[in-house]
């Protein structure tokens, strides 16, 4: 992102204003022999990420604090990470932190109506608008805690809308999202039925929701079907086909999206009734479990059953455009125990990061970002296959994650990777024992470098060579 003070058009306008034809004629009083006729021999401009990288490199050579302790550390303590699974490393433009740390936003991070400023309201309104445009839904709230609670709240919402008690949930939904859902629904008498996925070697449907099993699992008491796309294995679900099955039986379809960047290239889930999005990928750093930023978007007809805060556009007493917190009668501070949800605060400051991120990237930028993620993941997959590993769920479209299997167990492979300062894929046996002890979920983003991917592949190839030696 460049911040240039004047565009060529600005220069033209300024020259026209003072009646000079060109920059050259502006300086013609200076004798020609003293005028510079070639470019200055200085380096060209750098991108924001290149500049940051440069200063980090400077910083690593500078002793700060205890010089002896620093000298004892290895040259680089930076680890390469191939973890994804609901927590994604993406570049965060520096403008995000410089803006959200302004006191106007930071100290009033979750204001109520009486003290909320028009600036905060406008930012939240724009957040809602962007989420609608991205998800293809008609309305969006001003955020939820995170993707997991957003998915659980969507299920409760579907029960209120349909008057039914029960949800059918795909096993390809993030296992921790399903755990949160189980906790939330346990004492509300909402039975959860899980539906499996098509086997890894079953061609162009492998890793997707088993449609026949889904159809069989939906009953007259099913309020909704909850799926995730791209799902936990990185596979893109056939949202239209699943919507048709759910709707034929009067159930709503909820689509949970854990990797928001995927919306840059994947068709929005417009067939869904409710979309629960985890927006962490949009400018929110990966921390020790948070903060995250969930958001629910849906069809307008479900407006009064939607939980969370909502900002609306209105006119003030002078007829000027303004913003308000609206439809608060659904909310806990007005409706007490009959509120749509007990969510009483939201992630306004984190949603602000998302809004700034999306503003910086724009429509085209988000598409390019998503394409870079696709390309990096394709290279990673190829290079790990070349190193002797195998992938599962081939033949189905995917975003930037895939399931890998190796001859040695996930723990053994990851231990070897860690020696090289590489955090390998996430071991899956804990949630999906049927995939075997070696199954791991790998992710590459635009921040993953070719050198990191090649280094990981070299470790995997080494693992294989040692095995071959053992066999002989």
């Amino acid at each position: 992102m460049r911040y240039l003070p004047k565009s060529p058009a600005d220069r033209e306008a300024m020259l026209a204003e003072i009646g000079v034809a060109s920059i050259e004629s502006l300086f013609e009083t200076i004798p020609a022999e003293y005028r510079l006729t070639h470019d200055l021999e200085i380096p060209r401009q750098h991108s924001e990420s290149e500049i940051l990288e440069r200063f980090r490199a400077f910083g690593s050579n500078v002793a700060s604090g205890d010089a002896l302790e620093l000298a004892a550390q290895p040259a680089s303590k930076l680890f390469a990470s191939f973890l994804g699974a609901g927590a994604y490393r993406h570049y965060r433009p520096v403008i995000i932190d410089s803006l959200v740390q302004r006191g106007e936003f930071l100290t009033s991070y979750t204001p109520y109506q009486p003290e909320i400023s028009q600036g905060t309201l406008q930012a939240m309104f724009e957040f809602q608008t962007m989420i609608c445009e991205l998800t293809g839904m008609e309305i969006a709230n001003a955020s939820m805690y995170d993707g997991s609670t957003g998915a659980a709240e969507s299920v409760l919402m579907a029960c209120r809308v349909t008057g039914r008690q029960g949800a059918v949930v795909a096993r390809t939904v993030h296992p921790e999202y399903r755990e949160v859902l189980a906790t939330v629904t346990k004492h509300q008498e909402i039975p959860i039925t899980e539906v499996g996925y098509v086997a890894p070697d079953a061609g162009n449907q492998s890793g997707r929701v088993d449609l026949a099993a889904l159809d069989a699992a939906i009953t007259d008491e099913t309020a909704c079907v909850l799926i995730q796309s791209p799902n936990f294995f990185g596979t893109i679900e056939d949202v239209a086909a699943i919507a048709e099955i759910a709707h034929a039986k009067g159930a709503l379809l909820i689509v949970s999206i854990a990797e928001a960047v995927s919306l840059g290239v994947i068709k929005a889930p417009v067939e869904a009734d409710i979309v629960s999005l985890e927006a962490q990928s949009f400018g929110v750093a990966v921390g020790f479990g948070g903060p995250y930023c969930g958001v629910i978007a849906c069809k307008e007809k479900f407006l009064r059953q939607m939980p969370g805060r909502l900002v609306g556009e209105t006119k003030d007493t002078n007829g000027k455009r303004g913003w308000v917190l609206t439809l608060s009668t659904r909310e806990q501070h007005i409706r007490r125990e009959k509120a749509t949800s007990n969510i009483c605060t939201n992630q306004a400051l984190v949603a602000m990061m998302v809004t700034i991120f999306l503003t910086v990237y724009g429509k085209q930028g988000l598409r390019e970002l998503a394409e870079q993620n696709l390309a990096k993941a394709a290279y990673l997959r190829k290079t790990l296959l070349d190193a002797g590993a195998k992938t599962k769920f081939d033949g189905t479209p995917r975003f930037h994650e895939f399931v890998l299997t190796t001859k040695e167990s996930a723990a053994a492979v990851n231990a070897k990777l860690l020696e090289k300062q590489i955090v390998g894929g996430l071991a899956l046996a804990k949630w999906y024992p049927e995939l075997g002890e070696s199954a791991t979920l790998w992710c590459a983003t635009e921040l993953t470098t070719k050198a990191q991917m090649d280094a990981a592949a070299a470790v995997l190839a080494g693992v294989r060579e040692q095995e071959l030696v053992g066999v002989k």
């Binding site: 008057g163 009064r304 009668t329 659904r330 007005i334 409706r335 009959k338």
Partner: protein
Amino acid sequence: MSYPETYKYAKSHEWLLLEGDAATVGITDYAQSSLGDIVFVELPKVGQEIEAGATFGSVESVKAVSDLYSPVGGTVTEVNSALNDAPETINTAANETWIIKLAVKDAAPGSLLSASEYEKFVAEETGH
């Protein structure tokens, strides 16, 4: 405030018109004036079974949402879907604007009030 003599009244501020085993339910003039500008009425589905005293929907004004309670038990035969587009009709004519019609299963409980009893009840409530 006006409370027609032909109606029965619940302490939860609904009016009831009984004609044989057909019941018509709305909210009272007092209820609408307490709520203020009504912006939305949540209606049940036709065919839904409702027990006497149970919630069958809600009415939302600019300041609050209140549940609607059925004075009698029965099956919903009709809902006033005109309220989806013009909920404010309740403010202008609470006594003439019905919300649901029911085929009564449980006869009206004895606790329902006559117009004069209801007027006295409201006076006592607001007196506190």
